[in-house]
């Protein structure tokens, strides 16, 4: 059981929105979601600040032709990773790319995507209690998500990124099949 977190880079560092998503993913891990696996796409150095963000494992997805942003291909790779690792949740920042990739993942899997989440608590196998934003944060929604794999985007102001955490234990490369 693991929680996958899509990490977007800003230069050589983790994008601030992804740092918040990692911190959010860490709260799922504490609630039974398992250790956090950070997923990065494309070549380039793994940001050194991942280790301080509570990440247990880094998966850097590279494949010939997958050098730029490709939301459908990224979603496909996330789906394969989630299946291979028995993930309970896939988390991304509620950015243009994060939202788009998870929407593709939702469309591929037929699973719901809960957008703009502020918190998520496991309420049993495949069941989550969520708080998410509506109307750009003017309204909060208490919601229940029933899905074998929780797909969650994290509201921009959901959580302050953590500054301490587990050091990354290892890094590995996975090749996307398509």
């Amino acid at each position: 059981m693991t929680t996958l977190c899509l990490v977007e880079r800003d230069g050589d560092a983790v994008a601030a929105s992804s740092a918040a998503a990692l911190a959010f993913a860490g709260t799922l891990a504490d609630g039974g979601g398992g250790p956090v696996t950070a997923v990065l796409f494309g070549p380039g150095a793994v940001p050194p600040d991942l280790g301080a963000a509570g990440v247990a494992l880094v998966c850097q997805v590279t494949a010939p032709g997958l050098t730029g942003y490709a939301p459908a291909a990224w979603a496909s790779a996330l789906q394969q990773l989630a299946e291979a690792r028995g993930a309970s949740a896939v988390v991304a920042a509620s950015t243009d790319r994060g939202g788009e990739v998870l929407a593709y993942l939702g469309a591929r899997t037929g699973l719901p995507v809960a957008a703009n989440c502020l918190s998520a608590v496991a309420a049993g196998p495949g069941s989550w209690r969520l708080v998410r934003q509506r109307w750009a944060g003017s309204v909060l929604e208490d919601a229940t998500l029933e899905a074998p794999l929780a797909l969650l985007t994290v509201a921009a102001d959901a959580i302050a990124p953590g500054t301490e955490g587990l050091a990354a234990e290892s890094a590995e490369s996975a090749e996307s099949a398509d």
Partner: protein, 261 residues
């Protein structure tokens, strides 16, 4: 080219959203309904494309019978046809909505609507996924966040902003685009447009609802930080304190708060 534009009826909300007593909906007793600015721009773009290249714009919404009002608003802007996927008014999530729209598109026959435009995300739920789910169901390519569109015979170019730069895409038709406010400046409806929209016939279909695993339990308004007003005084007695505040705000130079003249 025939273009389908999907819009969503949403309450018109101001700064502070009021909810119904049961916490299930936005209280609309004192407000009206509209569509999101993204969708207004989508309709405007579709109308411009058909004015230039021919074809017709069909605007579609899923919602209660009253959502025909929003279709007529869009018809007044120049759309040619309206389709209402009528529901009982309860909220449908992105999976059920996209499935109903995809089924409706398929029902128009093969090759219907080479271009489908959606708003980038709904104004209320901000789910950011209906367009992508429609595209997946129909086997079409999709790009979201679009702020510029150029259509050729069998393909289109679309671009969007990303971190201060520009991302450009070429898509074969048929395709689905999620468009964003700023794509254009929507026109105001003309009087003839309003009259035509009032008389226009709306096609009504009643879709089947597909179940989905995300369920709304309760809506609530987050606590706002309370602002404490400080009474500086009454009448002329308040002037020294008022001058002090104005000096603090650098509206008046310090030392000018010596009291009334």
């Amino acid at each position: 080219m025939d273009i389908l534009v999907c819009v969503k009826r949403v309450p018109t909300v101001g700064g502070l959203v009021q909810l119904t007593d049961d916490g299930q909906d936005v209280d609309t007793r004192m407000s009206g309904f509209t569509v999101s600015p993204h969708e207004e721009c989508a309709v405007e773009e579709a109308v411009r494309l058909t004015e230039r290249d021919g074809g017709a714009v069909t605007v579609l919404t899923l919602g209660p019978a009253a959502a025909a009002d929003q279709l007529r608003d869009m018809l007044a802007l120049g759309a040619h046809h309206g389709v209402l996927l009528e529901t009982d008014g309860t909220e449908w999530g992105p999976i059920a909505t996209a499935a109903a729209i995809a089924a409706a598109v398929t029902g128009f026959g093969p090759g219907a609507f080479p271009l489908i435009l959606c708003g980038n995300e709904a104004a209320d739920t901000g789910d950011f996924q209906v367009g992508i789910r429609i595209a997946a169901a129909l086997g079409r390519p999709c790009v979201t966040g679009i702020k510029q569109i150029e259509v050729a015979a069998s393909a289109l170019r679309a671009s969007r902003e990303y971190r201060g730069g520009q991302e450009e895409f070429e898509l074969p038709l048929p395709a689905v685009l999620g468009v964003r406010e700023g794509l254009n400046l929507p026109r105001y409806p003309s009087l003839p447009g309003r009259l035509r929209a009032k008389r226009a016939e709306i096609t009504v279909r009643r879709p089947e609802r597909q179940p989905e695993g995300l369920r709304k339990e309760l809506l609530r308004v987050p606590e706002q930080p309370r602002q404490q007003a400080e009474i500086l005084g009454h009448g002329a007695d308040a002037v020294p304190a008022l001058l002090g505040v104005l000096a603090e705000l650098k509206v008046l130079p310090r030392g000018s708060g010596g009291g009334p003249a």
